[in-house]
Symmetry: C2
Subunit: 403 residues, 2 copies
């Protein structure tokens, strides 16, 4: 009997999360053994609430445009499933997949999503329901283990390098400039912040702060004061995930119990202004770093398509509880290449791959060549996007609901 495929998106969007959706649809359509091709609206919530749409109902032009559509085209969610797979949520999930005869379930997300993959594959085996669950790695934090990098990271990193270059060149225009404190995303891992290592020597920041390292507020102020005294300006790049002990501060947490991030540069700016009386321009790359369509890199797009196609094929071939991995290689001509692999989600879930100490030390005390070698092949080149009136077009899905 033919089975249907269900795909959903989870966590923070990236510039290529919808390219994964594109890749899934394109690949799934090649396989006559797949019946329906469905998407869940707002991630796992769409599965819990039986809110699925028919991806075969979308026209070709819309599907093409998914490759340059920011956000999560199906809607995302940050819903945390219970640790207990006997929780009623899991019964709801089983009801939905059974109702729609889902035999292939693809989850596009980060650490938490791989944990969801893992739980669901265990559950389906436990109840003897035949449904293969495959994870598609996605996070600009780039902190998933067992893959060279994560989909979305290259495009976000390109945004970071390009924007740091632009704003630092701008700041150098003044004899007396400002203190730039630039905040880059990255909850616990400094990969995205480390993209700053690719700046040319004359634009290098005074210091780059990673969440993997202890932060000393007093020392931070002194680095800035010294640079400002010498050069009339300063340039600091800091990960949003750096833990700073400000006095009298309340910590807000989200539904995962994660600390709410953002606004760190502004608070550090206030501190420098108050303690050293120096003009600061705090800059947060905010949503632009993950949503900036014009920064999508050719490698990121190509891999988003291939990895997602690989996920479809893996599910069809009977694999389950696996995440597709990206394995880096080099062609005979010395060029970057990659091939897809699979890794058990039990090995991937809820672990975080930090920026290695050797990378950090090389950035602080060396030339940053380790990070450059790692990142440069991922951000090389440009894509031509479809535009109307000077602004990129994006996909608007019809979202025909499945009853």
């Amino acid at each position: 009997m033919k089975k249907s495929l269900l795909y959903f998106q989870s966590g923070g969007p990236t510039a290529v999360i919808n390219t994964s959706l594109y890749g899934v649809i394109k690949e799934a359509k090649k396989h006559p053994e797949i019946d329906g091709i469905y998407g869940a609206i707002h991630g796992i919530e769409g599965v819990l609430n039986d809110h699925l749409i028919d991806l075969r109902a979308e026209d070709d032009e819309t599907i093409e445009l998914l490759q340059q559509t920011p956000g999560a085209a199906l809607g995302s969610a940050r819903y945390k499933l219970s640790k207990d797979i006997h929780h009623e949520d899991y019964q709801k999930i089983v009801a939905t997949v059974k109702k729609h005869n889902i035999g292939y379930l693809l989850v596009n997300g980060g650490n938490d999503s791989m944990d969801t993959c893992n739980k669901l594959s265990i559950l389906f085996k436990e109840i003897g329901y035949d449904c293969n669950v495959i994870g598609v790695p996605k996070t600009i934090d780039n902190d998933l283990f067992h893959t060279d990098h994560c989909l979305g990271f290259p495009s976000a990193a390109k945004y970071v390098v390009q924007s740091l270059q632009d704003i630092q060149v701008d700041n150098l225009s003044y004899a007396k400039g400002k203190v730039l404190i630039v905040e880059v995303m990255g909850r616990h891992a400094g990969w995205l912040t480390a993209a700053a290592a690719l700046l040319p020597e004359e634009l290098k920041p005074d210091h780059i702060y990673f969440p993997e390292e202890a932060f000393d507020l007093g020392e931070f102020g002194e680095i800035i004061a010294k640079s400002y005294k010498e050069k009339g300006k300063a340039f600091i790049v800091i990960s949003e995930g750096v833990s700073v002990d400000f006095p009298n501060e309340n910590v807000r947490v989200d539904s995962f119990g994660h600390k709410q991030l953002g606004g760190l540069a502004a608070r550090l700016g206030d501190y420098v202004q108050a303690t050293h009386d120096i003009a600061v321009r705090p800059i947060e790359f905010s949503l632009m770093q993950r949503a900036g369509t014009v920064h999508i890199t050719p490698v990121d797009r190509d891999e988003a398509i291939r990895v997602s196609a690989h996920a479809v094929k893996a599910a069809l071939s009977g694999q389950s509880g696996k995440m597709v991995t990206i394995n880096r290689g080099v062609t005979k001509a010395g060029k970057y290449t990659s091939r897809c692999g699979l890794k058990a989600t039990s090995k991937v879930a809820n672990e975080e791959k930090m920026l290695p100490k050797e990378f950090r030390d090389d950035i602080h005390y060396g030339s940053g060549q380790l990070m450059r070698d790692y990142l440069e092949p991922l951000i090389a080149g440009d894509l031509k996007l479809k535009s109307v009136g000077g602004v990129t077009s994006y996909a608007k899905l019809k979202k025909v609901r499945i009853q």
Copy 2:
């Protein structure tokens, strides 16, 4: 006797201010009656301190790259000249131009710079020194009178439309999103903020706040609370120049007596969080909107070159105390075109062209078509920039000092 040409940059950089420098060098080299082609380092400060460089010493490749170089390649300044042209500063300026036999002085800047142009052209006439002063309009605020628009505005506006689209699509990914409060540059005029009118209908902000209009903090909070209640998210675009009365706030001013801007979105976010207990993501487009090289528009580049060449030719033809203007036209095929004109800097200086009420009303209550018709031709199309390793190349001037 041959005379030399001196060019300098002033005020906040734009994405094409160095394209003007490119245009000046290219045009000046065509005229054998021009002796030296010089640039002043850090704007008027370079003239005051006799810090000039030889632009003929720069190689062709570097000059080409000026077209995609952010910041002010010669360095900028925010030095305010005295109103009294008998102040010693003016004697220093006269000394520098006489020493280097400057017969053509080009000033690339906004309102304040046109005032400088005006004063210097009066001064040179008063003392009988033969030097023609021409202004090259530049401001992302787009607030100079007597020109259809200002160089740098189209590229900044393209950044604003594209980025607003990207981040709003991202925010719509969640059933329960955030309140986006996005701060756009513009000291007194709402032109750049009005670029938000080009968003497609389904992405329209809940409200767009212009500096030309009174701001009511309570009403602002209510608009957000209402939208958040109805849609689980909200989207506000606000100009940095909007005057908000926060209680107990100190106002910082720069050397022009201008209020220091930036950080408005963050403060408004704090207000909404405190009064309505709703999660806010304040976003400031900051330096990225004026320095983002990948958003340079074909029209902005083309006009930066033509306007600057026109400035050289005007100075050579004996004009002085004039700013080059951009006059919009339409080709027989119905396409956008423009030609250069000249206007007395006395008519331009220290006046600000606000966003007209009819534009604002059309954005608030109508379709925004007025702004769309005005802006779309200026941001259409894309340029191919030179890149190395995925990041755009930029010009590094040798800066050979003239003795």
